[in-house]
Symmetry: C2
Subunit: 320 residues, 2 copies
């Protein structure tokens, strides 16, 4: 069995070997560019991890892993256009470098490239792989749509927020796990347990993100603490405070009257008063418990679950 | 056997029955909107026509036909963003009505919806269907990229232009034919002959479009005669004249010094002088001959080819 670092290396070696057509160069260069910007390759590693639970030959899942990584990068290219984002992983975004039209079209071709990777799996699992991938892709698009709509709305509920992050972030982790399981030869029952594991892990990961944005150690966090507060971002913490605080207090959350660092301090105090961190942590732990429950029910030898337990622990304890 | 009008009715009845999720409404409404804007449904009809050559049960090809129509409409949604087009079939384009971001994302989901339709075909043809569809989708994207690039270039050759229209327009007609053949149970040989038929028909169709834009009967044409000339569009006629005319004459093609109707008259005279219409017609007839050749080689009873011959004739004789 490989550890996650070894699996990441397998992905890193495979990506430069993907063959794209040479022409039109401007259609395919952005794809090579974004695919080689790096990142932790979490999603394709999850595909391989899940497959290896059921099949010693981890390369059997490589095409699906590349499909998931290509799809994920496709969503980054299109999301960055929609968000008007100039930077991605410290480098120019595709639309900044090649223009919006080119970025739309290269993204479209990445979707085709994902499907080309998928079509290489064994015929006996092809239909199940497609169904899972298509449901996953559809969920991710729905999540992005909700995220954009929430920016314009002032009445987003906590349950709507949880549904949005489930779709936008968690469904893809669940889908990656399930796809790996399917190509590895898992039963439907085990594949669905791994889906539940991945999805709940994804929700927990996003909630931890929301918490770290406010309560992260500035030295370890890597980005500005309080960035979400300054941007009035509707995170779990923001929405919970909006619900629990007095009306006058809550108006602070959207106020533009204070310097950023002052506002971050005041909002953090408000969060502390209503124990928002604890409430967010409880929600996160609920999802980690569900992930652990799915993992416990998984019908594989216990020692094979080590990497999966480590993932849960990493999220619980991560500081950035 | 159904005639093309009957096949179109089958498509028209099937489209409103496609079930999209209800939420998020703004993601799915644009899909219903563009899918119901009408059009002649040429591509899905071609899928059914090709399938029916090999299988009496035409509904066997319906999922693939809907996949092709959904994919085609997806390309319209994204192309209209790139082209900044306000109108499509006389109605507001999706991005005009819902905004660019929404249009990008609804388009993305349409690609997923296409793949969902495809995944419903019988498992024994699934792999072949996916391979043909993915190659087709990739070609169409490459064609759109070339089309955008040609607008910025002054050295486009005739062969580059023919390759662009092959990719942007003809590959999808070839792909529709081949996909119908595959689900209908055709041999690989026959499926490829139908691909060649569709692709050559597509190139001929686009060349006829270029000709009609200049030489169409204004009463029957339905849009402004000479529109391509006014827009300096690099059509087959434009590029051929650029190549054959004297340098001073050729400068007229890109000139902005004349009123539109004057320029249309002058450019048409230039085309006449160099017999551009005849050259374009010869190129079109070359592709129709190749389409007929593929049709003749097709191993099905001759009476079944009637509808296909009618398609060739329609293109040869169409006036709008």
């Amino acid at each position: 069995m490989h550890n996650p670092v070894q699996l990441q290396e397998i992905i890193e070696k495979a990506i430069p070997l993907i063959k794209y057509p040479k022409h039109p160069a401007n259609l395919y260069e952005p794809i090579r560019y974004i695919m080689n910007l790096g990142g932790k390759r979490i999603r394709p590693v999850m595909v391989l991890m899940a497959s290896e639970l059921f099949n010693d030959n981890v390369t059997i899942a490589l095409d699906v892993a590349l499909a998931i990584e290509t799809f994920h990068n496709f969503t980054l290219v299109h999301d960055d256009i929609m968000d008007n984002a100039p930077l991605r992983r410290g480098a120019q975004t595709v639309h900044e470098r090649w223009g919006n039209n080119n970025a739309i079209l290269s993204g479209d071709v990445m979707m085709v490239e994902s499907n080309k990777h998928l079509s290489k799996v064994a015929v006996n699992v092809l239909k199940a792989v497609l169904d899972t991938f298509n449901a996953t892709a559809q969920g991710v698009c729905e999540g992005q749509q909700l995220d954009m709509e929430f920016e314009q709305r002032s009445d987003v509920s906590i349950s709507e927020y949880l549904e949005m992050i489930r779709l936008k972030t968690a469904v893809l982790l669940g889908g990656a796990m399930k796809l790996g399981a399917i190509v590895g030869g898992a039963s439907e029952h085990n594949a669905n347990l791994l889906y539940n594991f991945g999805e709940n892990l994804g929700v927990a990961f996003q909630l931890q993100d929301d918490i770290l944005d406010v309560y992260g150690n500035p030295e370890k966090f890597g980005k500005q603490v309080g960035g979400d507060i300054i941007a009035n971002k509707k995170t779990f913490l923001h929405l919970k405070a909006l619900k629990l605080a007095q009306k006058e207090e809550a108006s602070l959350l959207l106020s533009e009257n204070f310097k950023p660092e002052i506002k971050v301090g005041m909002v953090t105090n408000l969060y502390n008063k209503y124990e928002i961190k604890e409430l967010a942590t409880a929600e996160m732990e609920k999802h980690l418990a569900l992930a652990n429950e799915a993992l416990a029910a998984l019908e594989v030898e216990d020692y094979k679950k080590t990497n999966f337990r480590a993932l849960v622990k990493q999220i619980l304890e991560r500081e950035h």
